[in-house]
Amino acid sequence: MGDMIAIQRDSAGRRAASYWFVDGLPEILFGVLHLALGSIGLAWGFDIKNPWLNVAMAAVFLPFLLLFWKDRVILDYFKARLTYPRTGYVRPPGEPEPVLAGRLVTLGTAPPVDWNVTSFRVRVAFFFFVASRVVNFATEILIVDGRWSVPIVMALVALGVYAGNRRDAHAYSWQSAAAIALAGLLSIGLELPPRSRQFLPLLIGGVWLLAHGVPTLVRYLRTYPAPKGAGA
């Protein structure tokens, strides 16, 4: 049986970096926690007198922080069971430098290949969290009507997600980024208490991340069914 040598248009390092997202797991994991935290926060804003709400908030917030801190290790755990047996394991070159200033400098520019994998949490997921805090700051400190701060902040998030990743191994289309801004705009019509509005960016982020991750996972699992025997 003859071999077909694969022709690669991207560099091997770039392909290895984009391989991290082949199963949609990074987006799903971050999406679920964003959605959970956003939903609980929304209920909390309604002043629902339920002591379990605080427990639920803590129960979601801790894994949320843990995922931001150790996303690579946590995702590796899931990938070891789902992805590596199907399509193999690769560790892209280098580990990201733990210097926040260095990361921020790369916004909007082509990042080095070795930053593509773990910078996802900073250049995509973290934007929604920051947006949530900005809306809170605008509502509580600047006394800006949250009805308007959410669309403005989400438009900036959309711009950041698009520009910050456009040359990345895992880029997002402008249409996809525009959906974030549109969701922010649609939130104007929602009747919510001011305290709840700060959680809208997390909700929007959760839904947006899941909308990317879930179809990717479904497509991946359809393309690569579970192997009968593991190992080489």
């Binding site: 290895a16 193999g88 394991y89 070159p93 080489a232």
Partner: protein, 102 residues
Amino acid sequence: MTHKEPGPLSEIDRLIHEPARLLIVAILSEVKEADYLYIQQETGLTKGNLSSHLDKLEKAGYIEIEKAFRGKIPLTILRIARRGSVAFKAYRNQMGALLNGR
């Protein structure tokens, strides 16, 4: 009659020059490590052919092969060795000189 010096083609590392091995080394030179299955997917080689090429590269000291576990899944981890890295760099320079006339 003057004797011409051998051209750069004679210096080409034929172990790397073979297309399948070149692809394997090129991939491994850009990642920290990869497993057998990933390299097989990326190269499109059959198991037997890939094993044979890996064996040659390992015997030449160009790559390192390690049996490991990721969770409960056994993996055959492949890494480029220092010798392989140097050889690949030299190969790229030689091919560059040959094709670009440098």
